[in-house]
């Protein structure tokens, strides 16, 4: 109650200020009148009585002021007054206001944009119930399907293990599973519409219950949907997909999606903010794992195989159970599960594996790692970069404020002389800074709204931007607010303290207050030194990242990248049987090759940076290789693949029309494979097999040069190619080598593909060079942003330098006039000013180099082929900075030489 009445009174004090003032006046006047009346009674005349009453009152106006203070809203009233005044002051100097707000908008905008991404990738919790209770088995560092026996910390699990864990564990409320890969398939929505790309995430029935989320519409999947294999063709769709494809209609539930021959019924829509559990992946559709065999492209069928490991598992801890206890329980069950697998008399190798097999439990509340692995570190480095940009912006604004403070010295002098407290003046100045910061924050949020979307596009390795939610949320807005507050304190405090420390005598006099300005410009100079040092740091970082990118781009891939274009075709959409695919693909290859200008066309299972297929091979050597050494990289390709990709043949032949399902199985191997497996003889003609019992099966017919497989930085590893004409499923990459203008050739190729089969959707057309560039998306992002911010920093530092020198030239015009009158030449004056400016720059460069030495090593993990302390980069950046700085100094220095001694002296 008391609180309420206080609130009511304060509200009244703020809104009905006049009324309150009037009451106060009335109250005090009443007192005066009573006193006057008493004085009259004691025999004074009217004037005397009134005067005596006023005298004994003890400061009528002062007393009123103290009463106002007592009201407790003084602070707010002052603030409002300060704000009004600040707005007026800023409007009076629009150029200053514009420059300051713009600088800050850039700084805060950049910070907010990078932070939005950092938030989405690294910081944000999944929008699920109690995310901190979720634990992931393993780290989800690898995805795919493996039948290896676990022999280390394990990430992938089989369906039988999932079932056993779910039933027998004592530590989780529930366990959910999801396939470790997302399938890109093509399907029809409703009846008869065109096929379209759909991203499918297969999940166990318990997946949604474990997360504890509720549907936006209909229902989510349950254990019931995942019971019988192939029995429940149902789907839950994502909120975004619902809006995009079904216009967000309520009737979506009950509609169908047809993928190949199976029609799935939509049973519900996932909640709006939920976009899956893996960072940077946003499935369109969730389908029960029981349907995995029906789903292209893989049609996996490992549900009952104990070692067909392809799932990520997530558990929700029971209350009161520690992650350690959960880990112990899970590992115990895992060992028992594997023990059963190896039987009563295991081999020594198996026993050893079992010893080492373990599961590390990791927190899953912030989602599965996904793109966080790749982007976490770069984003942190970029956060540091934009943080420095903001610091430089602040230094710039501080300098502007200092210069402004000097020009407002008289105003402050008058106000101090009229009795304003220094604290009150400082508060006024800080309010001005806060206003600038506030405007900068608003600008920053708008800029980041656009900027973070830009970043998502830049960070994406495909044509579409990364599916991350970078809309401002509470945390992001809080961050922006913090940024602007800290900025205001950094750039506002020192100038405010400095500006109000005025000696009233000099402050009010007309002159330039020499003592004052020297100390002020000393401060301004140190700001410039700091700016130069910080921008050098950013430019060094940019230099290192650009060199890294150049180094990576100049790595030979083994392909001839010129004139090759890749077509992504979802051949599985045809719904063919396995043995029908090769003839279909050969048909496409031949028809495309007949297009004028095309030299070669070939399908391929994998083309660089698309994941991998590793499997052991077995040779007939007396001393066979063991374990990991037998594992080689694999690929299945069309007969013209080596011509299309420009991979040189070293020995033997490549595939041809005679290699069919009826002829001898053949393979082409890489140079490294030939050397590793057949060091003492010709590889061509030798045989190997893919199983222990068929060492004689496949004959090597040719050897080709090594090519890159996963990434540009890898070392050459053994690799084998098989022809798709000798057994293969659907392949999706078509590589075409052609000369001529792509604008005319590509449409012809598309036309030909459609003419072979109308169910061959071409998803994407990209040149091989671009495809290879995409593997560097993270490095490109960092290099581009660092360069942009480095240049921005340089620009800001130069503006700061220019401003300080211009100011000092105008302050020293008298001194320069004297010098010139005494015989100094134009050259002397030029030298004088340049020396003053360049001293600051060189100081900044020294500090900057020292700082860079200390800081660039933080980004070491992001560098390639260049040391963090690369002398060439440091030297080049220092030279560039000094040259640009000389230009920035030269302009004010030139102006100094134009000083007319007579005018300058007369003015003094």
């Amino acid at each position: 109650m008391v609180f309420l009445s206080t609130l009511k009174r304060r509200w009244r004090a703020l809104t009905k200020k006049d009324e309150l003032e009037q009451e106060l006046d009335e109250e005090l006047r009443f007192h005066l009148e009573k006193d006057t009346a008493r004085n009259l009674e004691s025999g004074m005349n009217a004037a005397e009585a009134r005067y005596a009453a006023l005298r004994t009152f003890g400061g009528f106006e002062q007393s009123k002021e103290e009463c106002r203070d007592a009201w407790g809203v003084r602070f707010i009233q002052d603030l409002l007054q300060d704000l009004r005044f600040s707005v007026r002051m800023l409007l009076k100097s629009p150029a200053f206001a514009f420059l300051a707000v713009l600088t800050l908008t850039l700084g805060i905008g950049a910070n907010t944009a990078i932070f939005s991404l950092l938030d989405a990738v690294v910081l944000r919790s999944l929008p699920v119930k109690d995310p901190q209770e979720l634990l992931l088995l393993g780290k989800a560092d690898i995805g795919g399907l493996t039948d290896s026996f676990p022999d280390d910390s394990w990430d992938l699990f089989s369906y039988p293990f999932y079932e056993e864990l779910k039933q027998r564990n004592e530590v989780f409320q529930n366990v959910g599973g999801l396939l470790s890969m997302i399938w890109n398939v093509h399907g029809r929505v409703g009846a008869g519409s065109d096929v379209q790309k759909i991203q499918v995430q297969l999940v166990s029935g318990s997946y949604f219950p474990v997360l504890g989320i509720s549907p936006a519409l209909g229902r989510l999947l349950t254990d019931e949907d995942d019971k019988t294999v192939g029995d429940h063709p149902v789907a839950v769709i994502s909120h975004a997909w619902w809006q995009r494809e079904l216009a967000g209609e309520e009737t979506a539930v009950g509609k169908s999606i047809t993928i190949e021959k199976i029609t799935y019924t939509i049973v519900g829509v996932a909640p709006k903010r939920f976009a899956g559990t893996t960072v940077g992946e946003a499935p369109d559709v969730w389908i029960p794992l029981a349907m995995e065999k029906e789903l292209p492209p893989a049609h996996w069928n490992g549900r009952n195989q104990r070692l067909a490991q392809d799932l990520y598992l997530i558990g929700r801890l029971k209350s009161g159970v520690t992650p350690e206890r959960a880990g112990a329980n899970v590992n115990l069950l895992f060992k028992q599960f594997l023990q059963e697998e190896i039987g009563a008399q295991p081999s020594a190798e198996r026993l050893q594996n079992l010893q080492k097999a373990r599961i590390e439990l990791t927190p899953a509340g912030r989602g599965l790692v996904g793109i966080r692995r790749e982007f976490s570190k770069p984003l942190q480095v970029l956060m540091g970069v934009v943080g420095v940009v903001l610091l430089i912006s602040c230094a710039n604004i501080a300098n502007l404020l200092l210069a402004r403070a000097t020009s407002r010295q008289k105003e402050f002098g008058v106000r101090l002389a009229l009795g304003a407290g220094r604290i009150r003046l400082i508060r006024q100045l800080l309010t001005e800074s806060l206003l600038i910061a506030g405007l900068g924050a608003i600008g920053g949020i708008l800029l980041s709204w656009w900027g973070s979307r830009m970043l998502l596009l830049m960070a994406s390795s495909g044509a579409e931007s990364l599916p991350l939610d970078v809309n401002p949320n509470g945390r992001i807005l809080l961050f922006t607010l913090g940024c602007s507050l800290v900025s205001a304190i950094i750039f506002g405090t020192v100038p405010a303290l400095r500006a109000t420390r005025i000696d009233l005598n000099t402050g009010l006099k007309e002159g330039k207050g020499t003592v004052q300005t020297t100390s002020q410009s000393l401060l301004a100079k140190s700001f410039v030194v700091a700016q130069v040092a910080l921008s050098l740091l950013l430019m060094v970082a940019a230099g290192l990242f650009v060199r890294t990118l150049v180094n990576l781009q100049s790595i030979p891939t083994g392909f001839n990248q010129q004139n090759v274009t890749l077509f992504r075709i979802d051949t599985a959409t045809t719904g063919y049987k396995r043995e029908q695919f090769s003839p279909l693909m050969q048909d496409v290859e031949e028809k495309v090759k007949n297009v004028p200008g095309v030299q070669a066309a070939a399908f391929s299972f994998l083309i660089f940076n698309q994941g991998g297929w590793n499997s052991p091979i077995f040779t007939r050597d007396e001393t066979p290789m063991k374990g990991d050494a037998t594992v080689v990289r694999q690929n299945t390709v069309g007969q013209d693949y080596f011509t299309a990709m420009g991979i040189p043949v070293v020995a033997g032949r490549v595939f041809n029309r005679q290699d069919t399902t009826k002829s001898q199985p053949v393979a082409v191997v890489s140079e490294t494979m030939a050397q590793r497996f057949f060091p003492n003889s010709e590889a061509v003609g030798r045989r190997f097999g893919t199983g222990e019992k068929e060492k004689n099966k496949i004959e090597i017919v040719g050897v080709v040069k090594d090519v890159k497989y996963y990434s540009l930085t890898e070392n050459p590893k053994p690799m084998v190619y098989y022809p798709h004409s000798q057994d293969s499923g659907a392949l999706q990459n078509l590589a075409v080598r052609f000369s001529g203008r792509p604008e005319s050739v590509v449409p012809q190729i598309r036309q030909v593909i459609r003419s072979v089969n109308t169910n061959l959707p071409v998803d994407e057309v990209v040149t091989l060079a671009d495809h290879i560039e995409r593997s560097l998306v993270q490095q490109k992002l960092v290099a581009r942003l660092a360069s942009f911010f480095g240049l921005l920093a340089l620009l800001l530092a130069c503006i700061g330098l220019y401003g300080v020198l211009s100011y000092s030239v105008s302050q020293r015009s008298g001194e320069i006039g004297v010098r010139m009158a005494l015989g100094a030449t134009t050259g002397d004056v030029l030298k004088l000013i340049l020396k003053g400016g360049m001293t600051l720059v060189l100081l900044g460069v020294v500090f900057g180099i020292a700082g860079s030495f200390a800081l660039t090593r933080l980004a070491k993990a992001l560098l390639f082929g260049v040391k963090p302390s690369d002398p060439l980069t440091f030297a080049a950046v220092a030279v560039i900075l000094i040259v640009v700085a000389i230009i920035a100094c030269y302009i004010p220095a030139r102006r100094a030489t134009k000083v007319d001694p007579l005018t300058a002296l007369r003015y003094e």
Binding site: V2, E27, F30, H31, F57, S63, C67, A70, W71, G72
Partner: protein, 110 residues
């Protein structure tokens, strides 16, 4: 006999005001007269100090104010104790007695 006058410390002034209001509502002028009268004209308080003190007490919810008629045909602002104010007066009175008796003892011994 010449009387000596004592200035009131701020905190003490507030205590005195609360005491004056214990028996009922008063306006500012009355409060001042009472202080001077009851303290036998020893304590002097100026309106310039009194009114801010009244407003501070009001802000702290120890007293409330309302407008009412007065003897000179004008309305005056009357103050009265709140429940919190009454408690505060009691508490401060006790601690003042403790304090002043302690000082008295010390001064007597000196």
């Amino acid at each position: 006999m010449k009387k000596q006058k004592a200035d009131l410390l701020q905190g003490t002034l507030e205590l005195v005001i609360l005491r004056m209001l214990r028996s009922g509502s008063l306006n500012g002028w009355d409060v001042m007269q009472r202080i001077q009268m009851l303290s036998d004209e020893v304590l002097s308080v100026t309106p310039g100090a009194l009114y801010p003190a009244l407003h501070r007490l009001e802000e702290r919810e120890l007293i409330t104010a309302s407008w009412g008629p007065s003897d000179n045909n004008r309305r005056a602002k009357y103050y009265e104790l709140t429940v919190a104010g009454r408690k505060q007066l009691e508490a401060e009175r006790k601690s003042w007695e403790l304090f002043s008796s302690a000082i008295t003892i010390i001064l007597r011994d000196a």
